[in-house]
Symmetry: C2
Subunit: 338 residues, 2 copies
């Protein structure tokens, strides 16, 4: 069992137990030097078991990473949810005199080791997140935005009530008259997309309605939308939990000669004001990344400065359903905008 990191354990202790030199310990922990992978792994295991806490220079710089297990690189900084989170974290960091560094995805552990940040915000940490494991091993304070998949009692995270929000959208579609509600799912292990799929399946089971689920790639939901609309029993409503889903459904519906909202309802999770002016405007679920990131960044700074953060465990942040024309098939008083 790993011990809680302690400043009393020295690099010499780790070297003695692992049976290597202090230089090798240093290199192994900093992803530097030349050594076999098994030696590197052994040193890291011993360091973790002893609770070794490396001395770190205070750089007054915080890091932000999106470590979800998407294949290779994807331009998350241009997606409104993430660009708003980055802007919010930067603003809060600056208020407290900290800088903020945002790395691209698909960055190796070496890069994180070189960075020497005082603390780290991790967004959508997936199963077996190696960046998370490495940061915790090195004693770098971490606050999560979106629950880490394998959350431990010491973890601090800020997240939405994903289950409640998804139920809100599905109920809204049902109240608008939909009887065959489909979900665009994803093939990543992060909590968000998994909770969306689990909640959807439960909701369908409770109501005895069919599960119409297709897995999409975040960058391009179009093929998954096409599969849904080409079914023998196509859906009469689609909810997509990523930003680009709304545009993809609008476009595919046009191709299939379907009118929105008359033939097909559509809603998606998005922070983009672009959906106010599409034809028709699209109902969106807002996760308020600005507010959630503000809370997470303030908690991280409290941790970094050695204070006791105002919370332990999770903070649940509100969502908002913005009902627009794309889901308004029935009289307005049937709609809830929780």
């Amino acid at each position: 069992m790993p011990r809680k990191p302690s400043p009393d354990v020295t690099m010499a202790d780790v070297a003695r137990v692992a049976g290597v030199s202090i230089a090798t310990v240093s290199n192994a922990l900093n992803s530097a030097g030349r050594m076999s992978q098994s030696t590197r792994d052994k040193v890291r295991r011993v360091a973790r078991e002893l609770g070794y806490l490396p001395a770190r220079a205070h750089t007054r710089t915080l890091g932000l990473a999106v470590t979800t297990d998407h294949p290779a690189s994807w331009g998350f900084a241009e997606i409104p949810y993430f660009s708003q989170a980055i802007q919010s974290a930067t603003a809060v960091a600056h208020e407290h005199g900290y800088g903020l560094v945002v790395q691209p995805t698909a960055v190796g552990l070496e890069r994180w080791a070189v960075l020497a940040v005082d603390g780290m915000l991790l967004i959508d940490s997936p199963k077996g997140d190696r960046v998370r494991a490495d940061l915790l091993m090195r004693g770098v304070p971490v606050v999560h935005i979106g629950r880490p998949v394998s959350a431990e009692p010491d973890d601090i995270w800020v997240d939405n009530d994903v289950e409640g929000a998804v139920r809100g959208v599905l109920d809204h579609l049902s109240q608008a008259g939909a009887q065959r509600v489909a979900l665009l799912g994803g093939d990543t292990t992060d909590y968000y997309i998994q909770a969306c799929m689990t909640t959807y399946r439960q909701w369908c089971a409770e109501r005895g309605e069919p599960v119409l689920l297709e897995l999409m790639r975040r960058k391009n939901p179009a093929p998954a939308v096409a599969r849904l609309l080409s079914r023998d029993d196509p859906p009469d409503a689609i909810f997509g939990p990523y930003d680009r889903c709304g545009h993809a459904v609008l476009s595919a519906a046009r191709g299939h000669g379907l009118r929105i909202p008359e033939d097909l309802l559509v809603a998606c999770a998005s922070e983009s004001s672009a959906y106010e002016t599409t034809t028709p405007p699209v109902t969106t679920l807002s996760l308020d990344p600005v507010g959630a990131t503000r809370i997470a960044t303030e908690l991280l700074i409290q941790l970094v400065e050695g204070g006791t953060p105002a919370v332990s465990g999770g903070v649940v942040h509100h969502t908002r359903l913005l009902a627009r024309k794309s889901t308004l098939r029935v009289a307005a008083d049937h709609l809830s905008t929780a």
Copy 2:
């Protein structure tokens, strides 16, 4: 005269000429260690004169700093011009596999030395910019967004045609019927605000019109607006070159019982869509920070990777005047939206 930085000059060369140890050279250049300020200055001067180029670890991280000489800290990351520039730089950096760190203003040189970025974007570099001098001395590649005030032939910068853009706004106000156009100026030395004031004075002189100029604080233009409106000879149009000017003029006009656009025209430089929905909507000059920052970041990456950048010297980037109700006092065909 400083020589062009060269990898052939060693730290030992600097130590010999400066008459100090190599450790002292290292400490002086990295803002570390204890020594008198005069020793530190001497070592840095010698390093610069010899063209010493410190070996740097490649971190694949770029930096972005706003070094304009505003007093202490101001939350630039929440101003649309800068938040859009940060978003654009982050996206372009990520496309090329780089991270991006954004520091708050009022950061000491020590922090920049610790950062070890591969290259740096500097926005609105003022007169005597110490961060700029330090980066150049340490051989860190720099690309400027907004001309550095004391530009040298080797500088690479991306900027708007500030003079042309300001003349466009002033002509627009004049064509809309204004005869007493005022400018909100600033007390910083960066190129942008100085060029705004110089162009305004020239434009007034050419037309024999009065100079109605008040200096504002960027964070709160309200006192300067109040001084303009309280004059015995108040203006009938105001141009504010910062984002918050439009809101400040709308609010002050209400307080003075002035109707916009009937009694007072107002335009400001802004990237904020909020001015589409104010009462009335406000005419804005857009400097397109997204496009300008994309060009600057791509040039910086070319420099960092040892290539010859596609340009040397300056790149002039377009502006757009978005004419709205706040300057529409006369028939629409009198308006130009260059």
